[in-house]
């Protein structure tokens, strides 16, 4: 069985999760949900994850669904009203927040509001939802279902979810969490360097470093050799196929 792009992304996120941590995701998060379930079934049995707006804690994903508020997610350990979820987001409980955006910049800042000036937008997006809480999460993972220059930009047009801000003044803001830790795209994974900007860590199979550079709107300085993203093991692939037999999430990235 060949892994899909979503499988590779899910495995990269799964390996990032530690046993005993608490994670949360928002809308359009089928791949992060699948990643957390996979982590529970492999190395992190005591990982807890909250499926965003549904309020479901540790949904069993039987079946896997697209919408973060689906009733089918309520086959879970507990179901919280949203204001309880917000209380947890405000407390130090959340170790890992999964985030995305219309735009993501080199400092890991996320934008879900608009392209162009807020008062005069070229494109109006849906809105920030929970992204301002990134400032309070232990750390956060950025995942995207596309990788192009419109998405990965030098500077976000609107700051919905604070990453490392402008890099320089970050420490002065007395940050609560440790900021963005991992970026997973359909082409590659990024980490963050000492200057708090994105650094290419791995490229997925059949993706070249040049391809990543050409599709990223800010300058990358990749090392001479960039390793390939760790592929799912046979066991992981079998588990992913069991979690999502219909390919709802697994086939969601072209």
């Amino acid at each position: 069985m060949q892994p899909t792009v979503a499988d590779i992304m899910a495995v990269a996120m799964s390996h990032h999760m530690k046993n005993g941590e608490v994670a949360i995701m928002g809308a359009y998060s089928a791949i992060p949900m699948m990643a957390c379930r996979l982590a529970q079934l492999t190395h992190a049995p005591d990982l807890t994850f909250i499926a965003g707006g549904s309020g479901a804690v540790n949904p069993k994903l039987r079946p896997m669904v697209q919408s973060s508020c689906d009733w089918k997610l309520l086959t879970a350990e507990s179901v919280l009203p949203l204001s309880d979820v917000i209380d947890l987001e405000a407390r130090p409980e959340i170790d890992v927040f999964f985030a995305g955006g219309l735009q993501v910049d080199k400092f890991g800042n996320c934008n879900l509001v608009c392209v162009g000036d807020w008062a005069n937008p070229k494109l109006r997006g849906p809105g920030s939802v929970g992204l301002p809480f990134l400032s309070r999460a232990g750390r956060f993972v950025i995942y995207t279902n596309a990788h192009n220059k419109r998405l990965f930009v030098e500077k976000v047009d609107f700051l919905s979810g604070p990453g490392f801000l402008d890099g320089i003044s970050y420490e002065k803001r007395k940050p609560i969490g440790s900021g963005p830790s991992l970026v997973v795209t359909p082409l590659c994974t990024f980490g963050f360097g000492r200057d708090r900007t994105m650094e290419l860590r791995t490229v997925h199979p059949e993706v070249t470093v040049q391809q990543v550079i050409e599709n990223t709107g800010f300058q990358l300085k990749p090392p001479a050799t960039v390793p390939e993203t760790t592929l799912p093991t046979g066991e992981e692939l079998e588990l992913l196929a069991k979690i999502d037999p219909k390919g709802v999430a697994r086939n969601s990235v072209r």
């Binding site: 309020g55 689906d70 309520l74 917000i86 807020w118 809105g127 301002p132 400032s135 969601s252």
Partner: protein, 296 residues
């Protein structure tokens, strides 16, 4: 035994006519494509009631987008209007880009803490540190203000309470008095009901007083908060009603297409054409509805 209680059961038409004042602040419940009080929303369009400010749960969907597309919303206070994996909200997007609507930019914190202040009659509510880093409070100075924490002397971001004049909430079961039970997620709907002056409760099923007596601990919305109870089976269509039926993805895709290719035709076929919720369901078709129930 004793005198009879007031009757709150009424049609969607009567409830909207009676409780939605032109220019009011309307709160609408449901999250993403779930539990949207659509029978009431469509009735607002039929009666062409102008909404002064529309305030939504942290994630609005067709509930907000339809009202905006019908040209009835002057201002929206929202955190997200979109169709999740199905794409952006076309009418919301167009109205903002063409400046046909004022946006009071919000986020999940604005909605949840704003409702918390509204439902507890707090004059304002201070926010946890860190949220001031997002740009939301910089573009919405009507709802966000900075003040001094009287205990520490530190600067603190605060929010204006959200107090809708009237809210539309959908839950699965209620008695005729408005004791409401959610058979699934509650989202921010209970908070919204508590923060609102008037509440119209749309339900799948009317249950007896006896049923409520036996399930009183499951009642999340007490009748004292509710002004009207509207019995609307499949009243969330094309969104889901938790545990009753799933969302109608083909219909939502038809809607999204119609937004780009002729929204008036959609409104005529599904909203203004049918004179009531019952007629709307006939247009959608029994077969479709039965499949959604099957797919819940």
């Amino acid at each position: 035994m004793g005198p009879e209680r007031a009757k709150k059961l009424m049609s969607a038409g009567d409830a909207v006519e009676r409780f939605v004042r032109p220019g009011c602040m309307l709160g609408i419940g449901g999250m993403h494509m779930h539990n949207n009080p659509m029978a009431l929303i469509r009735e607002v369009v039929r009666q062409a009631k102008r909404i002064g400010t529309l305030v939504t749960s942290p994630s609005a969907n067709i509930n907000a987008d339809l009202l905006i597309g019908a040209g009835l919303v002057d201002e929206i206070y929202c955190s997200y209007v979109g169709f999740e994996h199905l794409g952006l909200a076309p009418n919301f997007r167009a109205a903002v880009e063409q400046k046909k609507i004022r946006v009071r930019e919000g986020d999940e914190a604005a909605v949840v803490y704003g409702l918390r202040a509204g439902m507890s009659s707090l004059p304002f509510i201070p926010l946890p540190r860190g949220l001031e880093l997002a740009q939301t409070s910089k573009v919405n100075t009507l709802d966000f203000k900075t003040t001094t924490d009287p205990f520490t002397g530190d600067s603190v971001l605060c929010l204006r309470p959200i107090k809708p004049d009237v809210s539309f909430i959908h839950c699965q079961k209620a008695d005729a008095h408005g004791n409401g039970i959610f058979e699934g997620s509650k989202f921010t709907d209970v908070d919204m009901a508590k923060a609102s002056d008037k509440v119209i409760l749309q339900v799948e099923e009317i249950v007896s007083d006896d049923y409520i007596e036996k399930n009183a601990s499951k009642v999340a919305i007490p009748a004292m908060l509710v002004d009207a109870v509207v019995h609307a089976p499949f009243g969330c269509h094309p969104t889901s009603s938790h545990s009753y039926y799933t969302y109608d993805e083909p219909h939502l895709l038809e809607y999204l297409k119609a937004c780009k290719e002729g929204f008036d035709a959609y409104l005529q076929k599904y909203v203004r054409g049918p004179r009531s919720h019952e007629e709307y369901l006939k247009v959608v078709g029994e077969h479709t509805l039965a499949n959604l129930k099957e797919g819940r």
